[in-house]
């Protein structure tokens, strides 16, 4: 028998208290402090003088900012589109009935679950200038070598391709989960009405995937824009900042140039950008649904 009888109404607050405390310490406090840093001209050792919106004004006048903004968009757009197409294709394929498909599903998730650093070690060798497998194969056709990580265009392609390779399994998995709960009888009814495969796909499969597709696309845009590991481990943002996204830019300002004002301003703008994108996409979802 409990000595202190806890009133029932207080229980949910009590259950929430530990999580809420930690969220406040690890995200709310840094957010508020970050806003304040972005209005000061400070270093890692000293918050510095209040400069109002000066850091933001300087960002809006700096080519670095537009460069990383456009790379973030490029990276997110290509990653979402190709992860979706590959994920959808493989989900439809794995939804067919053949022996060993469960095992194949598990094996196709591997790029998604191995640590980023392991993937990058592997890809760095595959696309290495000297002795890398891709260049050895190209040489066999008399092409190359291609300096994947030292030419801006190729470095951008490499970072995006590796990101797609790391992302599509998640898309595939969630689309497959949705495919497996579509009512089979819908297809039988469709066939009785004389619909062909393409019509069944267009009028039954796709509408059932619409909601999950939008939600997963939103998540993937957020994760792409927030990605630090893929570009940092592969190129550290180079060559000449070609693969520097907003997160890497904020990191470079903060820890490279010891300028926490501008580093925080980039981070705040990234959060605003993400919230705007997520809101727009959610509104789109409600409109369609």
């Amino acid at each position: 028998v409990p000595i202190h009888r806890l009133p029932l109404e207080r229980l949910p607050y009590l259950l929430l208290l530990p999580s809420l405390t930690l969220v406040c310490l690890i995200e709310l406090y840094p957010f508020l402090t970050g806003v304040s840093y972005s209005l000061h001209k400070g270093t890692l050792l000293n918050t510095g003088a209040f400069v109002a919106l000066d850091n933001y004004v300087r960002l809006f006048n700096s080519p670095d900012f537009y460069n990383s903004l456009s790379f973030s968009f490029f990276f997110a757009l290509f990653n979402v589109v190709f992860s979706y197409l590959i994920g959808l294709g493989l989900a439809l394929f794995l939804n067919l009935d053949f022996p060993g498909r469960g095992l194949c599903r598990v094996l196709l998730l591997i790029p998604w679950i191995v640590p980023a650093v392991v993937s990058i070690v592997s890809w760095k060798w595959l696309i290495a200038d000297r002795g890398g497998l891709v260049n050895i194969m190209l040489a066999a056709f008399g092409v190359g070598p291609i300096y994947f990580l030292s030419q801006s265009g190729w470095a951008m392609v490499a970072v995006v391709v590796i990101k797609i390779w790391r992302s599509f399994p998640f898309m595939m998995l969630s689309l497959l989960a949705q495919l497996q709960v579509i009512d089979r009888t819908l297809y039988e009814a469709g066939k009785l009405d004389g619909a062909n495969h393409w019509q069944l796909f267009w009028h039954i499969t796709l509408p059932h995937l619409k909601n999950i597709s939008i939600v997963q696309a939103i998540l993937m845009v957020i994760w792409s824009i927030n990605d630090f590991e893929t570009p940092f481990l592969l190129t550290q943002g180079g060559p000449s900042n070609a693969t520097e996204n907003l997160i890497l830019l904020s990191y470079r300002y903060t820890f490279g140039r010891n300028d926490i004002g501008r580093g925080s301003a980039v981070a705040i703008l990234t959060l605003i950008l993400l919230m705007v994108l997520a809101t727009l996409m959610l509104r789109q979802q409600r409109r369609i649904a």
């Binding site: 806890l6 009133p7 929430l16 840094p30 595959l126 002795g131 590991e229 940092f232």
Partner: protein, 274 residues
Amino acid sequence: MMKLDLKWTLLLLALAIVFIIDFPILTVILNSFRTTDNILSSRNILPDQPTLTNYFYINTRTHFWTFLQNSGIVALASTALGTVLAALAGFALSRFRVRILGIYNQALLIVQMFPLILAIIPLFIFFRRLDMVNNFVPVILVYTVTQLPFATWMLRSYFDSVPKELDEAARVDGCSRLRGFIQIVLPLSAPGIAAVAIFSFLFSYNEFFISSVFLRDENRMTMPVGIQSFMQQYSTDWGSLMASATLGMVPTLILFLLIQKYMIAGATAGAVKG
């Protein structure tokens, strides 16, 4: 007969796709058994003269086992903390209808999209003042919060599937509800909790960014940070790099095989509750 043929054709096609997709990971494992010279000169994909040289090198000349141990400590601690916090909050979300719960659920959405760099800058300054750089505590706390949205939503859906009547005891004070949760709901959700815990562990074990900011001393580095430091130090010693990458992903692959059947539920948890 035709039908059978089609099935085996599909399987062959599937295996070809799996081979192409997993090829980069396969090369890491295969190359870890070859010397760097052999990797650079041989035209074979399979090791023609398999050797354990790289593994001996990793074992004797690097801090690899320290990295692995540090990763274990950080991942275990954040998994334990995260799972307990998420279970408490998930139970509240599952069984009570109070305004603050709705607000908290919205806050979790923002936590999920929060750019970590924004948290890291002030936290780095904050913990440095406390002389806690190269300390596991900040890393564990950040990992815990990062896992909360996913873990809370997933546990909530497991608790939702346990009938309410089972834990709504006759006496309706808070203590008996809490006891109902611990004695009835938790045991019934054990497989789900295990899956969430392993997911959390995988995330923490694999994570690079936060660790790399806070853990800079070689004796404190986690496995991903350690391998990245190898990448910088021995950028051309592919053999040792591949061996460390292979060893580094062994725990990931084992845990993944344990929870792969929960993966589908996990992949949709964010979508359903978000």
